[in-house]
Amino acid sequence: MGSYLPSTAGERQEMLKTIGLEHLQDLYRDVPGSVLLADSVDIPEGQPEMVVRSKMEAMAARNTVFPTVLRGAGSYDHYIPAIVSTVTSKEEFLTTYTPYQAEISQGVLQSIFEYQTLMCELTGMDVSNASIYDGASAAAEAVMMTQTRERSKVYVASTAHPEVIQTIKTYCWGRGIAFVEIPQKDGLLDRHTLETLPADTACVYIQQPNFYGLFEDAQQVAMLAHQAGAKAVMGFYPISLGICKTPGEMDFDIAVGEGQSLGIPMSWGGPYLGIMTAKKDMMRMLPGRIAGETVDNEGRRAFVLTLQAREQHIRREKASSNVCTNQALCAMTAAVYLAAMGPQGLREVAQLCYEGAHYFGDELSKLKGFERVHQTEFFNEFMSCCPMDVHAFEAEMAKHGILCGLTVDDKLLWCVTEKMDKAAIDGVIAVIREVCGQ
């Protein structure tokens, strides 16, 4: 068996003796005899590292790793610079706890402070928390931030990511808050609803670019929300902000995003990174940890966790959120990624995504039956028709090592990242021709 216990059997006996006991069982005398297990639990015998490792490797080998990924929909196959995992696998960062003891945690606290600044720069917003679980839970927490005594109704764009919509819906059900989905037309949200928002509207949530990759008239949405006295919340795709207009520039009150695209592997859905930023006047409503700058007793620059009286460990049932941890290591991943990219690199990545997706969209629509579904502006994702059964198409493409666009009803939602160049896309087009007999 494998074990990480340093103590020998002899030491164990001596330690038991020191405290006046004979057997390990004696430590469990408060446990009622009727439920104390006679033997251990029924799981396999322990194994040494080498055996376990090959077992896990065998499981990993039963998965298919696609060399070509043309699927996004909330998880994106971007290039991850080598420096990223080198930094985040440092044992100090990996094995430390939430930085409660500031004097020996300046490194991790400073990294959070830098992360917060980077998120503000990326989004054009004023403040950021130290991150939360993922983009969907960040969206739900953002919606909760807008609740007041007079305003509780939540309007969510039906063009947002379906899992984000569902997550917000669950949080609303939990708190007993009215949830309204804003209808869509031609892949964009129907602004009609927003022109007549009731007086108890707390917020409007939209996603930019939306689930279909399309640009909403986000600025207009923020304006309509504000006209009704409600808050405007935007879900963003961090990479797009390398070139796209920021939520700050469009006057949103809160901006949240899934940070996975900033250096975090797709990881079958997690762990990811929930980015939460806001205007200054909403700072105290932010859930989770926030690092702040101060000085120590000798006047030296120092960082601490601050504004803690917002949080559950102090406010308990009166706290507006139960969030306890952040995703510090994922936040650091995003920070290292952005430092490695720099402003120029991030712009280039976003531009490559944009150009690549448009080149692919143009080439694809030259094929029979793959017309684009929507005609408006998009970033790096778009919907196309499919001339054959989508699942059969998906399976055929998989045989060529290509994870094709996500099947959405009988259509496909494609995504192109900077990993694809023109030659790679031409290759994909050739495979599609072959698969569809064109």
């Binding site: 803690q308 009286a309 102090i314």
Partner: protein
């Protein structure tokens, strides 16, 4: 611990200063001392109707948060917005740093005199 004679007091450590048909409400020196350095205060809205014992504000120190309860019934006619940027005024002088002004007063029978409050503090200790 200062307990000025011209004020009335409440069991949850608030003070009341009657001014005509209105009342100023704050927290006592004892309360600010227990809480330590205050870093933030959440204030109510003008117009809020309060019953006795309603939590109308909360004060935060670095490691704690505490509700401020209304010692009497009334309607909030003014809030001390100076405290938003400078909650430490309460630490400096708890009896000048009023938090709210109430009008349409009622339910005042639980208020204590300075002497009664001092007795009360002794018992609590």
């Amino acid at each position: 611990m200062k307990v000025p004679n011209d004020l009335l007091y409440y069991k949850s450590h608030e003070w009341v200063k009657m001014e005509g048909d209105t009342a100023l409400v704050g927290i006592t020196d004892y309360a600010q001392n227990e809480l330590g350095d205050l870093v933030y205060i959440n204030l109510p809205n003008v117009g809020d109707e309060l019953s006795r014992d309603d939590a109308f504000a909360d004060v935060e120190s670095v490691k704690a948060v505490s509700d401020v309860l209304s010692p009497l019934a009334g309607r909030v006619s003014e809030v001390n917005e100076e405290l938003i940027d400078a909650p430490e005024l309460i630490n400096k002088n708890a009896y000048t740093a009023w938090i709210i002004r109430l009008k349409d007063l009622g339910d005042m029978d639980e208020l204590m005199s300075a002497q009664e409050y001092e007795e009360f503090l002794k018992k609590e200790a």
